[in-house]
Amino acid sequence: MENLGKIHQLIIPLFGYKITINLEVIIMTWIVFVVLIIFGLFASRKKDILPRPIQVLGEMIVSTFYQLTEDALDKEMARKYSPLVCALFMFLLLSNWLGIIPHLEEPTKDLNTPLGLGLMGFAIAHYAGIKSKGFKAYAKEYFQPMFFMMPLNLIGELSKIVSISFRLFGNIMGGSIIILVVSYLTYSAVLPPLLNAFFGLFVGTIQAFVFTMLTLVYISVQVK
């Protein structure tokens, strides 16, 4: 029970400032990276017209997200943004699933990861907006429908980052807290595997998809 909300941190004092590094999150993120890279290597090695299972899996993921990107944006932009969308989904999916392995923690349980990804999506969406519409048309949108609505539009835009990152963080952290408390109460009998399957696999998959789709939708709203 004492582990509730505890984070292992490495604090380095540097010229009077303190640099805080969440070691566990970084290690877990690197585990996800390594697994994804190995998966990518195996999926693209020995490409064949008669694909092996792992190649089929890779092609399935890539083509599904290419199709989704093409539906939301147009064909030309889909070529540009679908690798991002696909990579984002695969990273989030593995991150959310990592917690079901004992002694490993979901990197998305730490607010820094979703917030970083949310900021990334926000920056990309606005970059895409400026690039496709030009800065003048982009800036003009903030003064719609009346010029004095500008501060509210700005806050509304910024609140998107809050909502997208807290949604993922709240779900994953909430799931892990519920698993921790229930395991503690039932002495880890019967219920925890079912809870892990629900919060880890099921909710993790849905939230990874929702995060990816929202990033894509934010891009498409800015572009059009």
Partner: protein, 405 residues
Amino acid sequence: MDFDVETWVKLAAYTGGGIAMGFGAIGAAIGEGYTAAQANLALSTNVKNSGSIVKNMLVGQAVAESASIFALVVAILLLFIDVPVPSLLKAASLLAAGISMGFGAIGAGIGSGIPGGDACLGIARKPEMAGRFTTTMLIGSAVCQTPAIFAMVVALILMFMNFGQGSLHLNWAAHLGAGICMGFGAIGSGIGSGFPGGKACLGMAEQPEASPRLMTTMLIGSAVCQTPAIFAMVVALILMFMKFGNAPLHPTWAALFGAGISTGLAAIGSGVGGGMAAGASCEGIARNPETVGKVTTIMLVGQAVSQTPAIFGLLVSFILIFKTFPESYTLSAAMALLGAGICMGFGGIGPGIGTGMTAESAVRWVARNVEHAGDLMRTMLVGQAVSQSTAIYAMVISLVLIFVV
């Protein structure tokens, strides 16, 4: 009259028991009434199969009843609980347990009546599929019960966990806040997850071959609309198990209360709204099973946007819990923090339901008009952004109350 500690504990236990059963009876009664009403409607269209309709109605009502049975269990436990070491903290915990279970049972009761009623209508249309309707109804209602089970878990922890004696400092406020948060936070998700269950039953009657897809969509939709209840449970657990150290009593107690109210109330609207979108997606897939991919995507996006008020509530709660406030004995500092919670909590109810309505109609029309899915989604997002702005105003005022006033 002499009020010693034991009297306070008894007082809190009886009040909590009364709240648990009194409020806990509301939802199940409404839900069962809805089931019976739909069963009557079903009987009038298909009198020949009255036997299986009545049987299904009774099973459905029994499931809908379980929310109030949870409340009954907690109420009886509260009436006869034997507190080994009475303390004022325990008194607060018992009252909070009653609040959590009583309000937490409302939504689940109402919600789990909806699949029951709609399954009766389905049996009237397709009597040969009675078994499948009953199964779908049972799964749909069981999913609706999840928020009530969360509320019961929180209530049982509050009643039986030993939080240490004498550490009254601030923990009483945290426990009451946790009870309020979980109790109110379970209402919306409970009601909301009934909609997809009901619409899935109706959809199976219309399009039996799409049953597996409808079942999957129902499960995904109702799992997503449980998110606000999960947020409420997280805030409740953090409030219960947090160590407050040397935080000053004034005005931190108001901040902890406010944290509970903020997420608890804001979760109501988001839960209902997410359920409406999920219900429409089941309806849409029954109408046109080929559109399942687009309908599910737009449902998830719509639900995600309608959850935003609950996320704002969560943010305000986290700030209220984790920020340390300077000691101040004036009432205005405490009221500002309490006001921040109330503002965000009530401010989040409307936008959650409103954006849910937008998502509902967008999802429904995508199924009929799939080639215009892109336009529908864009209109939905723009409309939701406007109705969301009231939640943003509430958040701005809450943050001003916390940081400026």
